[in-house]
Symmetry: C2
Subunit: 404 residues, 2 copies
């Protein structure tokens, strides 16, 4: 029995959050490109960042904020320039942006910054300076939708969710927005996600939850292995629900909060995969029987990231040999005689041997908006899921014809 | 000064080798699909095989042959069915094929087998049995071209090379053929390469050379990370040149032989990349300044394997930010402030900062048949090169519209 339900809303669904999204002029298209998310009271913050050693200035800046342990009141997000591969000037610009937010809001608490867009171009500070003033003035409790619109790049839809539950007799809410098109992007491979929550929780416990949830959701979306220079998930928690602080990781309250956070993460991750550039369907791969969860996740992510598998799905070709081959090269050892592959209800391979199946029916199954692939590799307890999309002509078109 | 030169020919260029390629009927197209390479005298054999744990029967079979230490007289190669994911029946078929070759040739020495084609389909033994008799009857010293034709799948050209040099006053020759289209394949991700040589060399030294050469050539071709179930390089050496046996790895003779073998490997590897499915150009990425060769090779392979980089090259977009991003996520740590990126003669990034360059001229450079990307990441001695091709509409077409 779920102790929570989905409600309409996003990063302003939880108590004590405002947001805004405006056009600062950073995108040549004139679409909204600057967002601000603010907590009325100082919030604890947790984050997960790209592992790339070529990192945007905002990634290094936010890591410093988290390491300092200060409470956070605001997240500024721009689209248009990624502020990655921009050297010292890029770093100074990130610092100035955070200071401008503090000034505009009249606060001294921490500010986090995030960027997405073209790599190797400096932030348009001439536009950012007035833009930050303008976006701060636009803040409202209904501004989450505008924020969601201002952080997208090649996304075809905005992505947001909110959940409401009860913890210790108090109504708590958690909401999130993200951007990303599931696969790599023209100049902007970036996945950005922002989550706000009003439950109270010990900071270290919040970071643990956020890290685990990232591993099971955002980190399981295929971006062609193209970890961006800017990828980040930042989650604020301001305790404004009035619920008592959760301090015990083993408590039912902690488990419920993590389950809700997981639902938010998985929903947003799937939304990214489904909106993959040129995608015609969502592919969900679940691996079981691995030695542990990490092994299962790795195999699942390898399968869903295989161009071989992706293009077969786009061609509606139930070519399960490609699934077997991808599993085999994942880097996780398993006994190929224990390999089982299901495509929807169709059994393609059992205990390492090919099975007879209705080829036409299996091809038709691949016309569904969501394609499910289930693989088992042995007798272990490890289960993991990954999400991706098919590889279409439009993917190449979007990525080849985009011009810097 | 090179002590060798390129000559016309292939696997029958070295002394004491015959080959043949015929149509056994394994390919629905009726194209040649069965090849046999034979040494007149027992040869030492070395091999490098797929690291996938989902392996074709031929891979396991050949590993056993090598481990047994027997000398080898023949390699049988079929295209059409990969004999991978075929369970016990697949293994029995591989064993039977080798036995049929022994019978057809009247030999007791080792026979190696290789397959490429659809995964999950049993070998058509009804066609293999008469085919093996027929291909053995067709053997000749001029049969190398026919063998090269019979091992291809989606390749648009056959790939072969031969070199002649002098070692210890004796003329020695080394030749090779391979198949593979550089990127992943419809049902047949396989890269197969076969090399023959008439120099005499100690078996362990030959295996060491072959392994090192594979690391610097075939293993540096991008196949989208899609290690196949069937990948293999097998190299025979029969000593028929009359040159004295090379036993000292540090000798000039050993170094020359390895240099010749490297040239064969790199030539064939580049031929695979250039013939990538849908490719319009060859991309060569050289990384320097890494801590060691393996690190440099890993960064180079990550860059050339990035769909982001590949599609930018196809779009003639000098989008160097994608190169920086790919280098950063390669798994090799480096200081991003020491990153330098050259595209041909154009300097795109120096010491971590973007540089001004002529965008139109750089875009024109990308219209060359070979595109060279040079990246340095620090002050180390490690240098490595990888080869790949661009990502085009035709790639998706070939892979999505192919039907099992």
């Amino acid at each position: 029995m779920s102790e929570w339900r989905e409600i309409s809303g996003n990063v302003t669904a939880a108590k004590g959050y405002k947001a805004a999204g405006i056009t600062a002029g950073l995108k040549p298209s004139g679409a909204p490109d600057l967002a601000l998310i603010v907590s009325d009271v100082p919030a604890i913050a947790a984050g997960v960042f790209t592992k790339s050693c070529v990192r945007a200035a905002c990634v290094d800046f936010n890591r410093q904020v988290l390491q300092s342990g200060v409470k956070v009141k605001a997240i500024l997000v721009n689209a248009g320039q990624a502020n990655a591969s921009t050297g010292e000037e890029g770093w100074r610009n990130a610092v100035e942006c955070a200071e401008l937010v503090q000034k505009a809001l009249g606060i001294e608490e921490g500010v986090m910054v995030a960027s997405t867009g073209v790599i190797g171009k400096q932030l348009r500070m001439d536009l950012m300076r007035p833009g930050i003033v303008k976006v701060a003035e636009a803040l409202s409790a209904e501004g989450g939708d505008n924020a969601a619109k201002a952080i997208v790049t090649t996304d075809t839809v905005t992505k947001s969710i909110a959940l409401e539950g009860t913890i210790s007799g108090h109504t708590i809410r958690i909401g999130g927005i993200c951007k990303g098109s599931g696969m790599i992007h023209p100049n902007m491979a970036t996945m950005l996600a922002f989550v706000t929550c009003d439950a109270a929780v010990a900071p270290a416990l919040w970071q643990d939850m956020v890290s685990r949830v990232a591993d099971n959701s955002f980190n399981q979306v295929t971006v062609d292995g193209d970890t961006s220079t800017n990828d980040m998930l930042v989650a604020l928690n301001n305790g404004q629900s009035g619920a008592p602080e959760i301090t015990d990781a083993a408590s039912p309250e902690a488990k419920q909060l993590e389950a809700m956070l997981t639902e938010v993460g998985v929903y947003l991750a799937k939304a990214i995969a489904r909106d993959g550039e040129g995608a015609t369907c969502l592919i969900e791969v679940t691996v079981s029987g691995a030695s542990d969860q990490a092994a299962a996740r790795q195999i699942a992510k390898t399968i869903v990231g295989s161009s071989l598998v992706k293009s077969a799905v786009f061609g509606r070709d139930p070519n399960w040999g490609r699934i077997a081959a991808a599993a085999g090269r994942s880097g996780v050892y398993f006994d190929q005689n224990k390999l089982n592959i299901h495509l929807g209800e169709f059994v393609m391979m059992a205990d390492g041997s090919p099975q007879d199946y209705d080829r036409n029916a299996a091809s038709n199954y691949l016309k569904n908006p969501t394609v499910q692939i289930a693989v088992s590799v042995g007798d272990g307890d490890g289960v993991g899921t990954a999400w991706g999309c098919d590889l279409s002509y439009d993917y190449v078109k979007i990525n080849a014809e985009y011009t810097t």
